[in-house]
Each structure stands twice: as structure tokens, then as C-alpha cells.
Amino acid sequence: MATTTIQPVERENYLNKEYGVGSWLFTTDHKRIALLYLISITFFFFIGGFFALLIRLELLTPASDLVQPDTYNKLFTMHGMVMVFFFLIPSIPAVLGNFLVPMMIGAKDLAFPRINLLSWYLYIIGGVMMLHCMLTGGVDTGWTFYTPFSTAFSNTKVVEAGLAIFVAGFSSILTGLNFVVTIHRMRAPGMTWSRLPLFIWAHYATSIIQILGTPVIAITLVLVVAERTLHLGIFDPKLGGDPLLFQHLFWFYSHPAVYIMILPSMGVVTEIIACFARKRIFGYSFVAFSSIAIAVFGFLVWAHHMFVAGISIYAALVFSILSYAVAVPSAVKVFNWTATLYKGSIHYDAPMLYAFGFIGLFTMGGLTGLFLAALGIDVHVTDTYFVIAHFHYIMVGGALMGYLGGLHFWWPKISGRLYPEGWARLAALIVFLGFNLTFFPQFVLGYLGMPRRYADYSHMPEFQVLNVLSTAGATVLGVGYLLPMLYFLWSMRYGKPAPDNPWKAAGLEWMTSSPPTTFNFEQEPIVTWEAYNYDELDTGHKQEVKVVG
């Protein structure tokens, strides 16, 4: 990398080009907006995490002694709402995606920079509404808003929470819209679809879900709010409505929303594995299309959340079989990542440790999904801690692991500084161990029959041992999440300046300076190479690529 050796100390970049609050709040630079998102979602992550910690502390003992049941109900509701709508859904797309999508395809910015800023403001407005809702009493419906509890029975701030999520939803829609248009229209000359990094494919698939799924939850929340304030009967059986219709509409979005969280994470992990195995990804096109397949199939499976809700058993059969269809492309991805390591030259830097952690936890989360999609087993384990454990393996073990891995991987590019490698490896290890200690016992609890959303289990003392283990794990996990925040902050001031390409990674984002300039590239790049050309990077010339089998 001859072009990256010159390193003047104060080169102009997107961070030091302008100073002052206004230069941030009115910026249209996708990288600055990404940082605005980074700060805001980190804030919400720690709020959601605080709720989680209180939940775990309450469950340390069977009796409801730390908080009252109604407080507990608000805690898990707001934990869910904050983590899902204000952390996980924006996490990778709005931070890493915002920062990297234009750079990876060789564009100067997203197609609609002002809409990008608008979507951050929508997120903030939604976030402030959510905070206001939480500070003035909170909401206790569960993040699922099931009717008729939410529309006719709960006496908490349902309307406020619904509107907050409605507004934040538009932020997500606009981000997705921006990505799709950018990926279609803004690719640099030579950047064909088959040369796109798989991170881009993953974000493209994610955007499809954001664009087509989010409006449905938006209108559903409008109906809930209207029903609650005007006493309509659309979901209320007392007035002739059907509460299951709400569940259909809710899960039509909220199941695909899981893929909004996990697909970008898969994209991140793909980049990391390719880099630290120094290899082209095994089966590039299969990995790319499996992202699209997951996004599309993800829309066909929603009612597997409703197998015991009173839906028709024939519909249940259809949704069960379709749920297995979505498992195939997920399995394909795991196999391809594993195969990529074959005959690689593997480095164990911190991002790679996160990627390994991701594969392990995602595999377990995915396989337990097979249990839940099996109709007969779902009857027993749905609405128990088995489900809690399963989706935390996917969303925390998967999505969050990927997010942290990506943050480490691109931190030198984002901040222009290196983080302390030793601490980072330690944090990865702590997160992995803490995570398993927290959530593995919950699989057992779930099969034993402990229902979710129970503030008090004093009549079931047999559940306590596993709950204690889980709470112990949660504290470890908490430390694991605090560490990266501390050393990232530390590195911004004391970290060593990062070279342009510290990992010698492939991809356009590594060919510009660290941190990049405002328009990303000094000159518009022309792409003449395939994605993941690690052979050229490591040897300076193209190797013969083998096709096995």
C-alpha cells in the first residue's frame, strides 16, 4: 500500500474540517451523521441496558422485592422498545452503514444527504418522545403492544410510546430508501454488482425490509393510537374487532425487523472474516443472494409468532413450513463463512474474535429457531424463557456482536485512532462468556416452563438457580459492554494515530485516508478489481483462483 504511507499529522478530514455545534447539527456529511447516530444510539443502548440490569436483579430472587410488578412490567416493556426501535434497528445501518455504504461503493455521499440528516432528526424526535414517555410514567404493554390490553386496559402511556415508535419508524424507512437509491445510482465506475462488498448486499437486503415492512407497523400503531383515543373497535372484541388482526399486522413488520437487525451484522462479519482470513469469501454469489433470500422469505413467516394465539391450524402449517424456508439461506451463510477459513491465513485481532463469537452465537440462536418453528414444540416453548434466550442469541449474540466487531474493525477509519488491542480482545472474551452465562440458562428455564414477563416466581422456587446464573452472567456482560465504550473514548485522545489501512484490508473505504476527507476520496475511484482481492494485496499480483468440487 504505497499510497498510504505519508501521514501528515493534521491532514484535513471530515472531523477537523469544521468545528462547532452547528457544523454537526446541520451537517449533510454521511460520516458526521453516522457519528451523530453513534452517540445517540449508544445513549439509548445504555438506557436499555440499565433496564435489563434491573430486570435481572429483580429476578435474582423469586419474590417481587426489588420493584413492584407494575414497575417490572414497565421495565421489560421499555427495555424492549428502547433496544429494538432505538438501538438494534438503527445500530449497524445508521452508524456503520451510513459511514461505509457510500465509501464502499466509491460515492461521495448518500444519494439524499439532506434526507439522511432528516432521518437522524426523526430518530431524535422519536427518541425524545420515548424518553418523555419513560420519564412521565412509562408504558407497560410489552414491546408487542398486544390488543386489547394496549387499547382498552393498560392505563399507562401507550399513545406516547406508539407515536414515538411511529416517528422513529420513518427514520428507518428513509435510511433504507437512501441506501437503495445510493446503491443503485451512486456506484463508482467499474463497481459492478458482483464486485460489491457483501456488506453492501446485506444492507441492500436490509433496506428492502425497512422500506416495505416499516410502513405496516406505522399504520398499525396509528390504528392502536386511534383506537385508544377515539375508542374505535378495530382490534377490540368487545366492539366486534379481532385482536388477532393486530398480531398479524404487528408481526408482518416485527418478524422481518429481526432481519433488519441481523442482516447488516452478517454483512459486517463477512467483511471481517475475509480480511482476517486474507481470503475471498467462499461462494460470494451464494452469500450475496442468501441475504436477499432472507429478506424476501422473512416476509412470509410472521404468523409463527402466533401458533397458539388462536389462528387456523392450516395457516399455522403454512407458516411453519415457510419458516424452515428462511432457515436454509441462514445455514448457507454459516457454512460459507466456515468454508472461507479453509486454507486461509487467519489472524486473531479483536474484530475477528467478535466475528468468531458471532458465528458461534448465531449458530446456536439459529438452531434454536428450528425448535420454535416446529409447531409441536412451539406450543410448549413459546412465551417462555426459551423464546427470550433464542432471540437474545440472535439479536444480542448475533446483531450486537457484529455491531461491536464492526465498530472495532472500522474504528481506525472512523476516528483515525487505534484502540488498545489487548483490552479489545479481553472485552470480546468477556462479552462472549458473559453472554452465554446470561442466556444459556434461559433455554433450560424455558423448557422447564418459566413464562416470560413474570415479575414474581415465588411459587416456583425451582427456577431460582438458573435465574441466579443468568443474573450473574448479566453483570459480566455489563462489564463487557462498558469496556469498549471506555477504551474507544480513551483512544480518541490517547490512541495511536491510525494508518489509512491498518488491517491491510480490501475495499474502497481503506483506500482513502483515516479519517476520510469530507467527500471520501481525493479523486473519484475507478474499480478494476473484484471484491476481496486479498491475493493482490498480499502478493501484489493476482493468484489463480481455484474452484473446488
Binding site: M186, I211, P215, V216, I219, I526
Partner: protein, 236 residues
């Protein structure tokens, strides 16, 4: 990955004044805007789609009650409104065509007529709402729908609770549609202002095009709302 692969294509001097800095050429900017609008309309389809889903399920469940409720709305007003919107769609395409061919007077005239038709639509809508309000067909405490016969089933009366669901959906669907019309009017007021100032040229008229796409979409939504809400079971 040597320097030879990175060649400057960037040429600041050739920029059209309306070309934003991060686009390479006007065509790219136009294509991006148009694709963006289409994708936005896709989200709108799904937004209304959730309502259509609820509507279809209840219509199937409570067909007779929905028929009775639907019959209480004035279908002639609905048909008139459909015609009004179709005419406004025509003036919108004329506006786009006028912008492409630099016929400024036609452009401004079409935009004005479009907005007038939009207001006529909203006026008729308001009349409909007023009638419903006076008939106590607005869901809520004063709702009443007693002894309304179910079409085709002599002696049977609609269940008021099910009719109330119809009217809830009717007001939410037409209300959201009307909200889209109002936003459209705002959009077109801005387009008219820009056209007045002569900002649109055959090279640069993307705002007119994407504004037009929006207007047509709102028209299409109404094309479905009209038979679904007004014409369920009209025959004597």
C-alpha cells in the same frame, strides 16, 4: 491497486447550477430522484396496504353490515370526486409535458387547475364528512346505526358495532387519503412558486416529475377506495 487505477473524472466546471455536489452528472441526479420517489411510493403502498388488509378481513367477516353502512354514504359524491381526481391527474401530466417542452404558460395553468381540482375534491369530502356527522355515523359516543336494513336481506338489520368498524375504517382511510391530498396541495403550491420564478427548464424539471408521481399515486389510492368503500352492495 496502484495509483493508476484511481483517475480523476471530477470536473467542477461543467456543473449545472442545480446539480448537487455529490452527483457526477445531471442524469444521475434525475435518476436518483425518480428512483427515490418510486421507493417512497412503495412505502406508501404498504402504509395503505395495512389498512386495506384490515378492511378486507372485516368486509369478509361482516359483509352484510358493511354493505348497509356503505349504502349510507353518498355514492354520487364519491363518483364525482373520482372524476375530479382523474381530471387533476390529466392536468398533472400536462404540467409535466409542459415543463419538458418549456411551455411556461401551460405549466403554470396546469398547476393552478390541478390545485383547484384538489381543493374541489377536499370540499366534496368535507360535505361528505358533514353529512356523516349529522347522521351520527362518526364512530364514538354519539354513534348510532340502529335499524338499518342489510341490502338484499329483507327484515335483517345491520349490527351497529360492525357498522361502526366500517365507519372507523372509512374515516381513517379517507382521512389519511385527504391528508395526502393536503400534503400534495402544499407540494404543488411550492412547484407553482418555482414555476412562477421560471426555475424549470427542459433540462431541469425533476421536481415537477416526482411531484406528479406523488399526485398520481394519491389518485390510484382513491381509485381503489371508491369502489371498496362506496359500492359494496348498492343494487336495490
Amino acid at each position: 491497486m496502484s495509483d493508476s487505477t484511481v483517475v480523476g473524472l471530477h470536473d467542477e466546471e461543467q456543473h449545472h447550477p442545480e446539480l448537487l455536489h455529490h452527483f457526477a452528472e445531471p442524469q444521475q441526479q434525475r435518476d436518483a430522484a425518480s428512483l427515490g420517489m418510486w421507493i417512497f411510493l412503495a412505502t406508501e403502498v404498504m402504509f395503505f396496504g395495512g389498512l386495506f388488509c384490515a378492511y378486507l378481513i372485516y368486509r369478509r367477516m361482516y359483509f352484510g353490515d358493511f354493505g348497509a353502512a356503505s349504502k349510507s354514504i353518498d355514492a354520487t359524491l364519491g363518483a364525482t370526486n373520482t372524476a375530479v381526481l382523474i381530471c387533476s391527474s390529466l392536468t398533472v401530466v400536462l404540467a409535466v409535458w409542459a415543463a419538458q417542452t418549456a411551455l411556461r404558460k401551460l405549466l403554470i395553468g396546469s398547476l393552478v387547475i390541478t390545485m383547484l381540482l384538489g381543493m374541489v375534491f377536499l370540499g366534496i369530502k368535507a360535505k361528505e364528512y358533514k353529512d356523516k356527522f349529522e347522521e351520527h355515523h362518526v364512530p364514538g359516543a354519539s354513534f348510532s346505526f340502529d335499524h338499518v336494513p342489510i341490502p338484499g336481506h329483507p327484515g335483517q338489520y345491520a349490527n351497529p358495532r360492525h357498522a361502526e368498524i366500517f365507519f372507523s375504517l372509512y374515516f381513517i382511510m379517507t382521512g389519511l387519503h385527504a391528508l395526502h391530498m393536503i400534503i400534495g396541495l402544499g407540494l404543488f403550491a411550492w412547484l407553482l412558486f418555482m414555476a412562477w420564478k421560471g426555475r424549470f427548464t427542459p433540462e431541469y424539471h425533476t421536481p415537477i416529475e416526482i411531484g406528479g408521481l406523488y399526485w398520481h399515486f394519491v389518485d390510484i389510492v382513491w381509485i381503489y377506495l371508491f369502489p371498496l368503500l362506496y359500492l359494496i352492495d348498492r343494487h336495490p
